[in-house]
């Protein structure tokens, strides 16, 4: 696959496999390069190993085979991760939740405050810094989780089906916000989803994984220059890409395409 910006990948997975202790093989041998500035979507049916691939990239699990190579090993420490649930600490207010990664890194509150405020402003939560998680809506909780991931100014943002539990309206809103964020921060994102529409809307490249073993069925490049808005959602390019992704997804589940 041709890199969007040329140059070396930020991180490469080479023949990465993962077998759990019980003997369940989730990933057989995944080869994946992530280039700076990309939004790569891992699209696949439930249980295809896409979340496992993300956890391996994050270092939350160790691969049983293969290796994960970082262009600059120091960058593997500079990750943001957004989980499927917001995973906020219920006893901390919004500010302290976003401050958490910096606090764990030993950054003082005073020193961290500007960066926390900046992250809150990026996701539109500046007015809610004193609110507790239980006082927030599902969408706002997720914004808070994104702000927390951004507080460390990550090189790579990993997102594991972050909007799957949200209603459609909130989901579209957050998709747009994520695109705006990406444009502002020039971030590199690896995004896991099982929604074809979401993958076509957000990505610069869609990687479709097979239901078993996580073999790559198809890689679909999406023109990064295209304006992503309501028009794009209704346009011919979107439906063409969606069709291709849907067909790949069908093949991924072992069904024959048209």
């Amino acid at each position: 696959m041709t890199p969007p910006s040329g140059g070396a990948p930020l991180v490469s997975m080479r023949g990465v496999g993962k077998t759990f202790d019980g003997g369940l093989e989730v990933l057989r041998a995944l080869d994946l390069d992530v280039y700076p500035g990309e939004t790569v979507t891992l699209l696949g049916p439930s249980g295809c190993g896409k979340s496992t691939a993300l956890r391996l990239l994050a270092g939350l699990a160790r691969p049983t085979r293969g290796e994960i190579l970082w262009a600059d090993p120091a960058q593997r420490e500079r990750l943001g991760f957004v989980f499927q649930d917001a995973t906020l600490l219920p006893w901390l207010d919004v500010f302290d939740n976003v401050y958490l990664p910096l606090r764990l890194a030993g950054v003082s509150r005073a020193l961290a405050a500007p960066r926390v405020e900046e992250a809150l402003a990026l996701v539109g939560l500046s007015g809610f810094r004193d609110a507790l998680p239980r006082e927030l809506s599902g969408g706002m909780k997720m914004r808070c989780a994104i702000a927390r991931a951004l507080a460390t100014r990550p090189v790579l943002l990993l997102m594991d089906e972050p909007f799957a539990a949200l209603d459609e309206v909130t989901r579209i809103k957050l998709n747009n916000d994520l695109l705006a964020l990406k444009a502002r921060l020039d971030a590199t994102i690896v995004f896991v989803t099982h929604s074809v529409g979401e993958s076509v809307y957000l990505s610069t490249r869609i990687v479709v994984l097979a239901a078993k073993g996580g073999e790559i069925i198809d890689q679909i490049p999406v023109d990064p220059g295209m304006t992503r808005d309501g028009e794009y959602r209704l346009g011919p390019a979107f439906s063409q890409l969606s069709r291709r992704a849907s067909n790949a997804l069908r093949r991924a589940m072992g069904e024959d395409g048209p």
């Binding site: 956890r55 994050a58 270092g59 939350l60 420490e77 990750l79 991760f81 989980f83 649930d85 995973t87 600490l89 219920p90 006893w91 958490l100 990664p101 606090r103 764990l104 890194a105 507790l132 998680p133 239980r134 460390t152």
Partner: protein, 267 residues
Amino acid sequence: MSASRLNLREILAAAAPPLVAFAAFLALWEAVTRLRGIPPYVLPAPSIILQKLIEDRELLFSSLLVTLSITLQALTLATVCGVLLALAMAQSKWLARTLTPYAIMLQVTPIVAIAPLLLVYLSPPRAVLVCAFLAAFFPILSNTALGLASVDHALLDLFDLYRASAWRRLIYLRAPAALPQFLAGLRIAGGLALIGAVVAELAAGAAGQGTGLAFRIVEAGFRLDIPRMFAALALLSLAGVAIYGALSLLTYYSLRRWHESARERGA
């Protein structure tokens, strides 16, 4: 937010029905003993018990202080030891597996049966303290250990991602996450510490030692001073209620901001 403040009117509204019922019960008791002419050495009327409480106040309240002081000492000791051991067990699965059967054995062995044995080896005040400690220790240990062990997996992942040290993981995640369970254990332990202290005092009191409230009950029993027995019992009961109330308040104020158990529904 109304959930974050105790409203005096709401408290009164909640407390009124049981208080009225209690007053009615006392009135009935008083009426029956007077109308039927039941002598005080069989069943003293509430007014006689109150009178006794006032007459013997110096003796009874100093005994109350003794019992309360031992109970609180035992509770403090049980909290420190229980939390420390739970922390150690959370760090080491091996230690947890080794100690858990003994902790359970200690819990299921009736404390009444241990008290006489403690009195063989320890001075009565020391035996009372140890007995109260043993009763209070287990609920704190088991609840805190449970709380520390049942931290949300996704949150542990989050702390892994940011390479949090074991210490930071403890103070920013495990300790606050375990707080509700610890406090539930503490509330149970408060009542059990009082029971443990009374049980040991009764055992020691039979041997002619001790000055706590339970000993006053035994002593009054020997003298057939039934009103004083009731008066001491009333004080013990009040002490138990006070301990439970204080620990409930502590729980409420520690958790009211975020935990479901301390929040009103619909707030």
